[in-house]
Symmetry: C2
Subunit: 287 residues, 2 copies
């Protein structure tokens, strides 16, 4: 078992750190709001710290799960002086590939490893310990971190060098944007055509239109309930990363850009915390 | 076993009729180009007719698989005088819901049944006898036709009244338009970002971005090979039906409309017979 520090105990990080403790790792946690770390430590029989460097000192693997680039940079900088030689800093946040490359270089210069390791699977996946982790970085660091990550991951894939994990997460979000919008239009059309939606789904969900989103979200979308997953505000953050990166690498992502604008409309409709399937609410909206 | 007539022996109808004969039905075929019906009859030990009414006379179930509304109307009108009382005309073509309602009324007035029963599963599904059939029409007609359709269908779903089969097929195509475009943008982005695409797919294909299209088309899309399914010309025909219907029922289908325009660009690139996954070719095109 390893000594592990976990920084950021949000809806993802809290259960992820819980799986580490349950697996028997010596788990030290830090959270910006200290009360949450205290509560976590009590519930999980672990150790809470109010100072990142104290949480990190002596850890073999340091995991972070925070929000955006600025937060990642802040926890990384706070951890850096306390990172041991050969330790690995694993960033589970969804952030830019540019930042991942920068922090990987800074870590290498200081004698420890850095992995950009965004996750998919959402809160349900974190709670079940069934996340998918896509990793950019050096193979030896991946090998060292993987036994720890297995505590909460069903799949760990080393995609490529520093930044590749973030880029793979962007590919994931681009695909989802198209799938969910197509599904939203299909269900909205079915409603407008007065079809029995469950019969339509029964007819089409085994063939070329099939998707995870269709299987898992058609019913709640049809019912107009949007409390089942990843929030619109977070999806807009991720699509912002996609559009920045596409501007840099020259990729054309017209529907991802359009769907990002649709989500902006949903935010304006009051749907900042609705899940991503709320694209149908925008179509169903009365003029 | 039933007496069945099959009208239209194209890449779908040919193998579908073959499965009927193989299942032991008395199968009589007609094709606009008579030589194709003769060849089919020789290969399948069946009977070819050069006149639709002769093929249809005495049949319990008459199946048609032709191209567009005008073709459906033509074969229906030719069959009508020869249809027996209580027989069922099953139209497997993808056509408008309006035509389906009109022909269902005409059939009812003449004492026989009409089902709009478009299929999905493509040429491969037809050859394997594993098509999905989505049906609009009266329940008794569905019950009468279903034992015959099982010869080439893995799934037969009665979606609703006349027209509902065509509308369900439209929902299918709307969903596919979003899925394929999202996947095309994701793969194009992955290429632009210089990622190992197979590693990315390994990382994301079990989660919320998963789709039939991702599983079955990512590799050929990544390689720029577009000879694996439903042709762009046919998809444009189907999206035309979608857009006409949406104009009538008030549904909003912005991405389906956009993807239809993208397919128009692919036609202009020489891709009329490429498969629908060729959306990535448009993104990868050099300026």
């Amino acid at each position: 078992m390893a000594a592990v520090a976990f920084l950021g105990l949000g809806v993802m990080g809290g259960p992820m750190a819980g799986h580490l403790a349950k697996a028997g790792h010596d788990t030290r946690v830090y959270n910006r709001t200290a009360a949450r770390a205290e509560a976590w430590a009590k519930a999980n029989n672990g150790k809470a710290f109010t100072d990142i460097s104290e949480a990190v000192r002596g850890a073999d693997v340091v995991c972070a799960c925070v929000s955006a680039d600025a937060d990642v940079r802040a926890v990384f900088e706070a951890a850096r002086p306390a990172m041991g030689k050969g330790a690995v800093f694993v960033d589970h946040s969804t952030a830019s590939a540019k930042l991942a490359r920068e922090l990987a270089a800074a870590a290498a210069a200081a004698g420890f490893g850095f992995l950009d390791a965004p996750v998919s699977g959402g809160q349900a996946g974190a709670e079940a310990g069934r996340l998918t982790v896509m990793i950019g970085g050096a193979a030896t660091d991946v090998s060292n971190a993987e036994p720890v990550l297995k505590a909460y991951a069903a799949n760990v894939t080393h995609v490529g060098p520093a930044g590749a994990g973030q880029l793979a997460k962007m590919v994931n979000q681009i695909c989802i944007a198209g799938v969910v919008q197509g599904l939203a239009e299909g269900l909205h059309f079915a409603q407008a055509a007065d079809l029995d939606v469950s019969a339509v789904i029964a007819a089409i969900s085994k063939g070329a239109a099939q998707s995870w989103q269709m299987e898992n979200r058609w019913k709640t979308m049809d019912e107009g309930r949007f409390d089942f997953g990843f929030a619109v505000d977070l999806m807009r953050k991720d699509l912002g990363l996609v559009l920045d990166e596409a501007r840099a690498n020259g990729a054309r992502v017209p529907v991802a850009a359009l769907v990002d604008q649709f989500y902006a409309e949903i935010q304006a409709m009051g749907g900042r915390r609705w899940d991503t399937s709320s694209l149908i609410a925008r179509l169903n909206r009365q003029a």
